[in-house]
Amino acid sequence: MSYSITEPSSRQKKVAGSLVILYAFITLVPLFWVFMTGFKTPPDSISYPPKILFTPSLEGYVNLFTTRTRVSPETLQQLPPPANFAEEIVRNRNMVIAGPSKYGERFLNSVIIGFGSTFLSIFLGTLAAYGFSRFKVPFKDDLLFFILSTRMMPPIAVAIPIFLMYRKLGLSDTHVGMILLYTAVNISLAVWLLKGFMDEIPLEYEEAALIDGYTRFQAFYKVVLPQAATGIASTAIFCLIFAWNEYAFAVLLTSGTAQTAPPFIPTIIGVGGLDWPAMAAGATIFLLPVLIFTVMLRKHLLRGITFGAVRK
């Protein structure tokens, strides 16, 4: 090993490493606790001192996906034996399953709106970024700054006129309305990030293609798009995560058919019942995709965060 005056000593590295790992563990405790709570029974979830060792139960998950009604012990005894594990868990609490809960629908809404708005932001954002990166656009700098400044508006402030506008157009509580809205919010970040990626692609490739007889559009999708693929992918992840996590617009502009999961999850806790395991189960299912995404795609994501911020 060569000696360098700027390389930290191995003892320094060890101390720094252990401090960082300690912080990482502290940061993970809340997430780990939510995950565990999802597998507790309601009494276990509110025991004192908090239980670290417990018998895992799927009651939280069953409660998350079903609605239940309380029945008297006599009626319960007259029922045929439980058909599956879910019914068995519910009957232990003197209840029967009345039907599915709305969680599945809300989760599906999150998927539809998340992917729909991501697709649209990337589609429009890629075109706009290419336009800004390669052409003379009148008032270009002003336009770019304006696109960015739309992110400074508090969401509630934007929501007032959007609410009125959507009410007039019949877009409130619809998937299309939410997809358009999230696209409008996301597109500023998308254009900025993508323009950065496109600026890095050397012009010579396109020029060669144009001279070989490609049209502008052919040069765009046969030469530039493949080069920008990584940048487009990481931008897409940012758009998806934003749409997935968004709460303020969702809670104000949706109430039923198009409601996403974030405004729904807090309502799971239920009236007086404080069903923490079901809430934790709902949170776990909802957060897990993002956690897995983050770990899998960490290189692009981390670069994107700093790159996006530093460019602005």
């Binding site: 590295k13 940061t27 606790w33 290419y130 400074m152 508006m153 009125l164 974030p262 983050t294 530093v310």
Partner: protein, 315 residues
């Protein structure tokens, strides 16, 4: 924004080439690329903004669309600026803003500095630390209310474990003194990684030869830290502060889930009050004026800050 070589080349070269290849002028093609985005932003950003400005001069109430709308001039603005409750909201917002930034900068910079010691496996641990900021703030706020439960909550348990205080003797979310700190703690847990990442980018941008030169000149590590590391990371750090500042000025989802603005109105940040005025009391005109005031405030503060940032960068 200055013209970098790529951009200059972009402006110089393809004009003639494109014209030869196809009938469409470059300007027309540019509009085909940029147009749809501009249209969408006009429809969902500009038009609503103008509408809000217009509404802010009226006494419109969105829950009574058939009531005749009167123009009241600047009365909404006057009432907001004289409303003592609004100033309390602004104080709560300022408290939240200042303390989240202080903690996030201190912890975030320290972490970045430690990670930059390049110990084995630092990539993996960085990723783990980043996880909270990827999550949905509303859901995060929701499960933190669980940790903050008196008696059964994990947070109260940990505090009592280390201090010996009775875990049911304090309510993080229910007490006027503690609630403002409860929201600061959660926001710090969630967003410190962001500051850390930006600082890390800053630290990694410092070329090694500067430290080598300083070491040859026998500058102490301490001296190197204050005369090289800090000044070179400062623009990055200030950028991180700008982003956290704008985000937390707008803060809504996390805090609404944690405290809903309570107890009383101790954690009622500007956005939470705005939501109440606009969508619970349905004072649309009044809340539009409030929205405009908030937007102008963020915009003004951010512009001043960016000017300062550019000065630091020039040094």
């Amino acid at each position: 924004m200055s013209l970098d070589p790529v951009e200059q080349a972009a402006r110089a070269t393809p004009v003639t080439v494109a014209k030869k290849i196809r009938g469409l002028s470059d300007r027309a093609i540019a509009w085909i690329f940029v147009g749809p985005t501009i249209l969408l932003l006009l429809a969902i950003n500009i038009f609503p903004l103008i509408w809000t400005i217009n509404l802010s001069f009226t006494n419109y109430k969105a829950n009574r669309p058939n009531r005749p709308v009167e123009y009241v001039g600047l009365r909404n603005y006057e009432r907001i600026l004289n409303d003592s409750d609004i100033w309390l909201n602004m104080q709560a917002t300022a408290h939240f803003l200042v303390w989240t930034i202080v903690f996030q900068v201190l912890i975030g910079f320290t972490l970045a500095w430690l990670i930059n010691r390049k110990f084995k496996g630092n990539d993996l641990w960085t990723t783990i630390i980043v996880l909270p900021m990827m999550l949905s703030p509303a859901v995060v706020g929701n499960f933190w209310t669980f940790f903050y439960q008196p008696q059964i909550g994990l947070f109260n348990y940990v505090v009592s474990f280390f201090t010996g205080a009775d875990p049911s003797s304090f309510e993080m979310l229910g007490s006027v003194d503690l609630a403002p700190w409860a929201i600061v703690i959660v926001d710090t847990w969630m967003w410190t990684p962001f500051v850390m990442l930006i600082c890390l980018a800053g630290l990694r941008s410092i070329p090694n030869y500067i430290y080598e030169a300083a070491a040859i000149d026998r500058a102490s590590k301490w001296r190197q830290f204050w005369t090289i590391t800090i000044p070179m990371v400062l623009p990055f750090l200030m950028l991180a502060v700008l982003f956290r500042g704008i985000e937390n000025f707008k803060m809504f989802d996390l805090v609404v889930q944690l405290t809903g603005g309570g107890p009383g109105s101790t954690t009622e940040l500007a956005s939470i009050n705005l939501k109440r005025e606009a969508f619970e009391k349905w004072r649309t005109g009044y809340s539009s004026a409030f929205a405009i005031i908030l937007f102008v405030t963020v915009f003004g503060l951010a512009s001043i800050y960016v000017k300062a940032l550019n000065k630091v960068k020039e040094r």
